[in-house]
Amino acid sequence: MGALPKAPTGIQGLDQITEGGLPQGRPTLICGCAGSGKTLFALEFLVRGATQYEEPGVYMAFEETGEELAQNVASLGFEVNDLIAKKKVIIDHVQIAKGEIREMGDYDLEGIFVRLGYAIDAIGAKRVALDSLETLFVGLTDTAILRAELSRLFHWLKERGVTAVVTAERGDGTLTRHGLEEYVSDCVILLDNRISNQFATRRVRVVKYRGSRHGTDEYPFLIGARGISVMPITSLGLTHGASSERIGTGVPRLDAMLGGKGYYRGSSILVSGTAGTGKTSLSAHLVEATCRRGERCLIFLFEESPSQLLRNMRSIGIDLEPWMRKGLLQLHAARPTLYGLESHLVTMHKVTEEFKPSVVVMDPVTNLSSGGTITEAKSLLTRLIDFFKTNQITTFFTSLTTGDQNQESTDVGISSLMDTWLLVRDIESNGERNRVLFVLKSRGMAHSNQVREFRLTDRGIDLMDVYVGPGGVLTGTARVAQHAREAAEALARQEEFHARKRQLDRDCIALRAQMNTLRLDLEAAEEELRKIALRENSRKETEIEDRLVMARARQADPVVNGVHRDRGRKRKEV
């Protein structure tokens, strides 16, 4: 089965929601109120066809002359006159003045057919825009004839095989004032310029698209520096590439918490926290680190003026002014309520495309919701993040949370869109507030699960370990006191050890001295023992000698055996 052939419009975002473009070789109806961008849509379709897809086009203008049209779109970079000269585009202005024509009787609109046919043949046109056919109803009064002829015209366009866009004014309760939708059944696109909360937002909706899948929602679009750009919601195409390159956060300790290397390039980072927790300072660190690498940074401020930011950041030792002078940093400050969200989007797109930064900071993103409803703000942010990601731009958002609400949810509910989410929280204890920083999530990297105390010093942000002990998390002076207490305890232990060591040393010395005395005593005793033994021996010998002498003197019987034995043994013993 062959898919419906489509003619890409080249209009940013529209080809995504129509999944490829408008039905090729068939007419598409573009309806909308006055000033909703129908003419621009039709013209951009032709210009992009001629410049990007090698499809020349014929523009039949019923309301404006070719010169007026060319002038109107010149600011969008469409060189219509140039395309006309190159025979890529023909603009045929059909002038119908009310009352100029007097109707006599039956007629047909062969004039239109002939002119269109002639123009198509002249440049081999593949695309046709009719803007807007309804003008015919002003100049001609016989609606029966007009209707029959319009029906014939659409058939004829199909036969010619040109992809046509037909614009029509929106009617009361109907898509078009003169019911043109009856004739164009293949594709109907509705443009809308609605005002809510005093802000105008343009929206586009594909009302029907026969034979094709298409996005059915209303998509906001804007008319920017490069024509129409429709901002489809992210989920339509999550196709942006993910870089594995890492960029430093500007705070070494924070880099360490994020797997040692910092954020991913092209990722989206959210810092949320209550007022005055140092969100802006964190962003300033990133900005400075980025500029230091020679990359460009763009900051959108919704709360502070640029000079205020510069002054405040100087107070923590970050001077951003040199980077501004070098052209690496641009600041854009605007109140969110200054204009509608759509216009903010336009500005941000425009500035980003011109400046081509590698990091964009939005501070604070929560304020945007005051320029519209929360859902609108979320859809705006979704589109913005999508836009930045496809351009590999790292985005840093700060989000202001109020103290009493759950801090792990943000006002605009955008946390799910974020790759890295840092939370800065105040901890109040012992009559002081201290900041702690967590990494709530950081996709695709091993990140620290530890709480760090977050201090703003005159040399920037300092992250320190917090004291986590039996008494809970201690920060600020409590942490300092705890450290002091621990130090004192350690010192005391040290002193005790030394005292004990000295005591034992002394004991050893005393014992060693004692041992010496004892050894001397021992030696003396042994000496004594030897002396005694010697003395005893010599005494015994003398005694025996004496006995023998006495025995000899008495002439006693020699008790030979006993004496001999006795003498022999004793001699041996000696």
Partner: protein
């Protein structure tokens, strides 16, 4: 052509010939192709001119299928279109020319009595 005159008279409305009658007329009739409608339009135009303008006219018939650029130049959207180029101001009459009275009024050759009075 007597039928036309009679018809006009019969209509019981007094029709005055406009003063412009004596001026020279330059007319162009735009048709598309040689369809029966075109042929009828050409015939009607010639007949009306001959009868009401005598020698004082020049009628050009242009087939826009043959010369489409002329259709663009003259801002022709419907056919048949009879354009009164002279005398000024320019007049464009669209539709078939079978109703002579309407055509003559359209060309300012006749003025309806009631309109003249008001």
């Amino acid at each position: 052509m007597p039928q036309v005159k009679r018809a006009l008279a019969d209509s019981a409305r007094l029709l005055h010939r406009a003063s412009s009658r004596r001026k020279r007329f330059m007319l162009r009739l735009y048709v598309a192709g040689t369809t029966p409608r075109s042929m009828r339009a050409i015939e009607d135009a010639r007949r009306l001119c001959e009868e009401y303008l005598g020698e004082q006219f020049k009628l050009e018939v242009i087939d826009i299928c043959q010369r489409p650029t002329l259709a663009i130049d003259e801002q022709i959207i419907a056919v048949p279109t009879l354009v009164r180029r002279l005398p000024e101001p320019l007049r464009k009459l669209v539709g078939d020319l079978s109703n002579s009275e309407r055509v003559l009024i359209g060309l300012d050759l006749l003025v309806r009595e009631d309109q003249k009075l008001t």
